[in-house]
């Protein structure tokens, strides 16, 4: 049998929960609240990761007062060593670099999200957007991988250490990184709750239910869609930065359609249109991720002939199908929005 370190596992699961929460909240705002079918979530997550790959190789050495070494090809090992040394000895440079990473990722992802929303205006059928986003993510992935010198195509960038890497105690740095992920997730959650319960959020739900009616009430729907895509993309990119930091490397192979589907499973499982549902979905998927990993290792060690790693995907597929068929509203269904006016009306009517 394998020994499971309960504490370390819990920290890992909670870190993943924080990261997945960002991705799920983002998709929930876009699809659950505003009805934009973002089948390109991997694209927006990957923007965060690619930006991290760029800042860690180009900006970090400068911040630490060193020269930039080309991260790929012959100098790959040298660059990695320099990167690791800086992250281990110069925490200030690491933190400033991370701040810039978040900033750049937010700017790029926001611009892309904003631009994408205008694509919808030109599409004949609504579901074409799903296809355009799905395909757009793949194009970006292929182009980034094809541009050899950007993030070293097939090799990727390793040594993308999390900012608390400099601490001597690996457990403490893991706990601190977990806290960072959880704090960011909490910020995103409270922000999106406020947004959903604002007049803007109600307009988005109107947009989701019936575009023509919303337009007839004098709402500018294309700008609203652009705004929510911008917000959603920024949150997803923040998740992408943390995702890259958590695994410690950036490789284009991680940001495929399967990642998009993972995020969809979270939202559908938790509850479409409900931010709490997105959190619950993220937590359940983070837990299941870990359990299937551990089960796969245990089964392989017990000499089972069947590779269990694949079971994760089959499990997620089955969950998705069962939810869509038997409980499409999710585990935590969206509750009707109430405003002060509703409250007064309820009291006047006496029920």
């Amino acid at each position: 049998m394998i020994n499971i370190d309960i504490g370390a596992t819990a920290v890992a699961v909670l870190t993943l929960f924080g990261i997945y929460s960002l991705m799920a909240i983002s998709l929930n705002l876009e699809y659950g609240v505003a009805g934009v079918p973002n089948f390109g979530q991997a694209l927006f997550v990957s923007i965060g990761a690619y930006v991290a790959g760029l800042t860690y190789t180009r900006l970090l050495p400068l911040l630490a007062g060193e020269g930039v070494i080309h991260p790929c090809r012959g100098t790959m090992g040298q660059a990695l060593q320099l990167r690791s040394e800086i992250m281990a000895t110069q925490p200030v440079a690491g933190f400033i670099n991370l701040g810039f990473t978040f900033l750049f990722a937010a700017v790029v992802a926001g611009l892309v999200g904003f631009a994408v929303s205008y694509v919808t205006l030109r599409l004949k059928e609504e579901w074409f957007l799903a296809l355009v986003l799905l395909v757009g993510g793949e194009i970006v992935r292929i182009v980034v991988r094809g541009a050899d010198d950007l993030i070293c195509s097939h090799n990727g960038i390793s040594g993308v250490a999390q900012p608390f890497y400099f601490l001597d105690d690996p457990r403490a740095s893991a706990v601190l990184f977990m806290s960072l992920a959880l704090v960011l997730a909490a910020l995103a959650y409270f922000y999106s709750q406020r947004l959903v319960h604002s007049p803007f959020g109600r307009m988005l739900k109107g947009l989701r239910e019936n575009e023509d009616v919303t337009r007839s009430l004098g709402k500018g729907i294309s700008l609203a869609r652009a705004q929510i895509m911008l917000i959603g993309s920024v949150i997803a990119a923040a998740g992408g930065v943390l995702f890259a930091l958590n695994t410690g490397f950036v490789n284009t192979n991680d940001y495929v359609v399967t990642l998009t589907l993972d995020v969809w499973v979270m939202v559908v499982l938790g509850g479409v249109g409900n931010n709490r549902g997105a959190l619950l979905g993220a937590l359940l998927i983070a837990i299941m991720d870990r359990i299937t990993q551990i089960a796969a290792i245990a089964l392989n060690m017990s000499g089972s002939p069947i590779e269990f790693n694949y079971a994760r995907f089959i499990l997620f597929g089955v969950i998705l199908l069962l939810m869509l068929r038997y409980r499409p509203q999710g585990l935590l269904p969206e509750s009707p929005l109430t405003t002060d006016a509703h409250e007064i009306l309820r009291r006047v009517r006496g029920r």
Partner: protein, 306 residues
Amino acid sequence: MPTALLVTSVVNTIQIGSLYALMALGITLTFSVIRLPNFAHAEYVTVGAFAALIVSLSGEVNPIVIMAAAFVVGALVALVSHLVVFKPLEGRNVSLYTLILSSFAVGLILRYILFMIADSFNLFDTRIRIPLQIIYREGALILTNVFAWVAPTSIALVLLLTLLLNGTPLGREMRALANNISLARVIGIPVERVKNYTWILVGGLAGVAGALWGLQTAVSPLMGWVAILSVFAAAILGGLSSFSGTILGAYVVAFSENTVMLFLNFNFGVDLAYKPAIPFFIIIVVLLIRPQGFTELFNRSRDLQR
């Protein structure tokens, strides 16, 4: 660009384009008749390839038998996925995104079941074995019996499918469903039965496409998934409704992936790594600029109009 390369790439275009046509027609058919953009179509192809591979590993060398097995297994998987997943959802009048998501889920499940099978029996990157013979040789151009099987078979199947759709009662009923499902029901067309036949046809042809694909390259659990967006690009070029447009679209996609890519590589130094991006660009450009695709090029009276 050297002539030999050009000729080889055109041969590839014919071979791969015919396979794309076979798969893309299935997507057009499901979209028109069932109203489902089916992303699990990729896995019907892969399932067919694995069925063919397993039959061929058991010692069978007759390509007809191998393809028949692929047809049966592909059709079965497609029918089961319809009856178990898509039909109950259709009955509940769910949104298109729910249907798209569930097709992704079906694909995911099938794909990783195949991964498990491939892993357990060590079937990764195995080719379907029929004795390889060179049937034609002229300079650098070598045509094998694989080419002689793949291209004519897929072209023949595409023609047969077109005939079936245009000339038989079943084809007429399918077109009626594509045109107006309520009207079809009113005039007494057995809608559910026609849908079942459509799924059998679509899955079976996808299975055969998989078997043919496995004759030319190695079988892998990802093979259908890798091709699916190229195939979607072909179907979108056909406006997701026109049969002739889809077939033309398939060859256009294959041509741009092979000949145009080689041309760009030779003359402008574009890295071959960008090849998979070509069908994606086609999808985006067509959806944005010309969502009707090639449909207007053809007389649409016999197409799957909506």
